[in-house]
């Protein structure tokens, strides 16, 4: 039909399967994510509760967006935070800058920093966009803190 073929295409779409996926499946459960999704970072711990981060600042060095700020310090001998010589006593990621390239994860020698599939970022001011080690560190149960910097956030210290 020449000119009118396009109308057939759009009309046939009416009976095709929809590609939209729901945000949630049932009550509160989120739809499955792609395998290689890059979400929010976490700082991992060893099974004994020791932090993996040794404050080497390689992640900060490799970051193309310059969004990571790390400062290392010597471990206190009587109560070491990490098994190595040093630990990261400041660890901040600015999520207004982070491009989720995962280079920090690749650079990390101890697999201290990894990315989760958490993707729901919302801030009401710029300061909230900076996630500190309180919010990045996984809890004692090895799970990421639920909603950092917001109400109900788990507040932990070093």
């Amino acid at each position: 039909m020449g000119y009118l073929d396009g109308f057939k295409v759009t009309f046939n779409k009416l009976f095709e399967k929809r590609v939209t996926t729901s945000y949630t499946i049932g009550e509160g459960e989120k739809a499955p994510k792609p395998d290689r999704l890059h979400g929010r970072h976490v700082l991992n711990r060893y099974e004994d509760g020791m932090e993996k981060c040794i404050g080497c600042e390689l992640c900060a060095g490799v970051c193309p967006a310059r969004c990571i700020y790390v400062r290392g310090a010597d471990n206190p001998p009587d109560d070491p935070v990490s098994p190595g010589e040093r630990w990261g006593f400041i660890y901040e990621i600015n999520y207004l800058r982070c491009i989720h390239c995962d280079l920090c994860v690749e650079a990390c020698p101890t697999e201290a920093i990894t990315e989760t599939k958490l993707f729901e970022f919302s801030f009401t001011n710029r300061h909230d966009a900076i996630y500190t080690r309180d919010e990045l560190l996984v809890g004692d149960d090895g799970r990421p803190s639920t909603c950092p910097g917001k109400t109900g956030a788990r507040v932990r210290t070093g």
Binding site: T10, F11, K13, L14, R18, V19, T20
Partner: protein, 402 residues
């Protein structure tokens, strides 16, 4: 013929109250119809693009428009510093009032079969199921659609910003050029039906058609050409895709609406969708016999309105389908289509109908008249094409600067 029988005798309190009731019902109906139309358009476009469209507000997202409207009303109303304040504030109303008025001449029900003439009885008073039946009928519609241009034009001009101005310049050029084609195809309908009143045009179409099988619709009687011209020109007049150069988002942001916010923006949207519904209703009234149709079973009063809604729905679907399918016209294509194709075709068809009519009255040989008319059309088409070609060639050679 006689106009609404409601006003045939003395006009007392009862007549005024019935008219007021009609106004209120029509207003409510239009508002709800716009709400549903916006939802329908979003849903259908989504369906045509493998998406699901709005689902959150109400069942199947049917209250989405209401939610959007409430949101818009509570937004901050911004008037830019450089705007021409009074005109800027007035323009949306200039767009929305004609849109509401236009529907008042559309017959939306009443039995037209067997010489019933679409009269219904309300509270013991005979009346038509339309708000107004002015003898000038369809001219009123053309006049109001011309006034609606001012809303768009003044909105763009008064915004004090370049993109709205560009949009409004496009709007005025487009709407003025397509109004000519619109008027010429309406003229063909008026010539065949012998009346300007919308009610009489519908009553005429309700009469027995050829062989008592084919309906006496103007789509058949006046020919399919004015119908096609009218639909294309009507779509252009509405600034709907593929003729939405006026608000072409990719080129000129939002056209005339760019500087508008809050309730005034909502009013422009309201006007746009009202006009879509009204234009569909005018298609139905002029070409598809309005509410006329067979009474099949059940109460008599419900069928004409059902037929009307069914026919209306066809065009509403068509508008959404056009939007989902066709890319936007380029500006020169738009002008070429309007001036070099639609207007000559509409005019030619109108003259052909007139010639047949005169031949009929004078008792001339119909075949000879049609043959002569076609020959003249051949010559005229050749002349027009030649003129367009030579103009093009001259422009390419740089002899004409434009």
């Amino acid at each position: 013929m006689l106009g609404d029988p409601l006003y045939a005798g003395d006009v007392g309190l009862a007549e005024v109250l019935i008219t007021l009731l009609k106004v209120v019902v029509l207003f409510a109906l239009m508002t709800v119809a716009v709400m549903l139309m916006v939802w329908f358009e979003r849903k259908l476009v989504a369906d045509m693009q493998n998406r699901i469209g709005p689902t959150r507000a109400g069942p199947w997202g049917i209250l989405q428009t209401l939610a959007d409207g409430v949101k818009l009303i509570f937004k901050e109303d911004i008037v830019p510093d450089k705007a021409e304040r009074r005109v800027f504030i007035l323009a949306p109303f200039l767009a929305v009032v004609p849109a509401f008025l236009l529907f008042s001449i559309i017959p939306i029900g009443g039995n037209f079969n067997d010489g019933n003439n679409g009269v219904v009885e309300w509270f013991g008073h005979q009346t038509y199921l339309q708000l107004a039946d002015p003898p000038i009928g369809i001219l009123f519609a053309l006049a109001l659609s011309s006034i609606a241009v001012y809303g768009v034009m003044l909105a763009g001009w008064s915004s004090g910003s370049k993109y709205p101005l560009l949009g409004s310049v496009r709007a005025s050029a487009q709407m003025v050029s397509y109004e000519a084609a619109l008027g010429l195809s309406v003229a063909a309908v008026v010539l065949v039906s012998g009346s300007l009143s919308t009610h009489d045009i519908v009553a005429w179409q309700a009469g027995p058609g050829a062989g008592d099988i084919i309906p006496n619709w103007n789509l058949v009687v006046a020919g399919v050409v004015p119908f096609i011209v009218f639909v294309i020109a009507g779509t252009a007049e509405l600034n709907r895709p593929p003729f939405d150069l006026v608000e072409a988002e990719q080129e000129i942001v939002g056209g005339y609406q760019t500087e508008y916010s809050s309730f005034r923006f909502a009013l422009f949207y309201l006007a746009e969708f009202l006009n879509t519904i009204t234009m569909s209703a005018i298609f139905v009234t002029l070409f598809l016999g309005g509410p006329s149709g067979p009474i099949i079973v059940g109460p008599t009063w419900i069928w004409p309105t059902l037929w009307f809604l069914l026919k209306l729905f066809v065009f509403l679907f068509m508008f959404v389908w056009l939007r989902a399918t066709l890319p936007r016209f380029r500006y020169d294509q738009l002008m070429n289509l309007g001036w070099k194709l639609l207007i000559p075709v509409a005019l030619g068809w109108f003259l052909l109908l007139a010639a047949i009519r005169v031949a009929d009255d004078q008792g001339w040989n119909g075949l000879v008249v049609i043959g002569a008319a076609l020959a003249i059309f051949g010559v005229a088409t050749a002349l027009l094409v030649g003129a367009v070609r030579s103009g093009q060639r001259a422009r390419e050679l740089g002899e004409v600067f434009d």
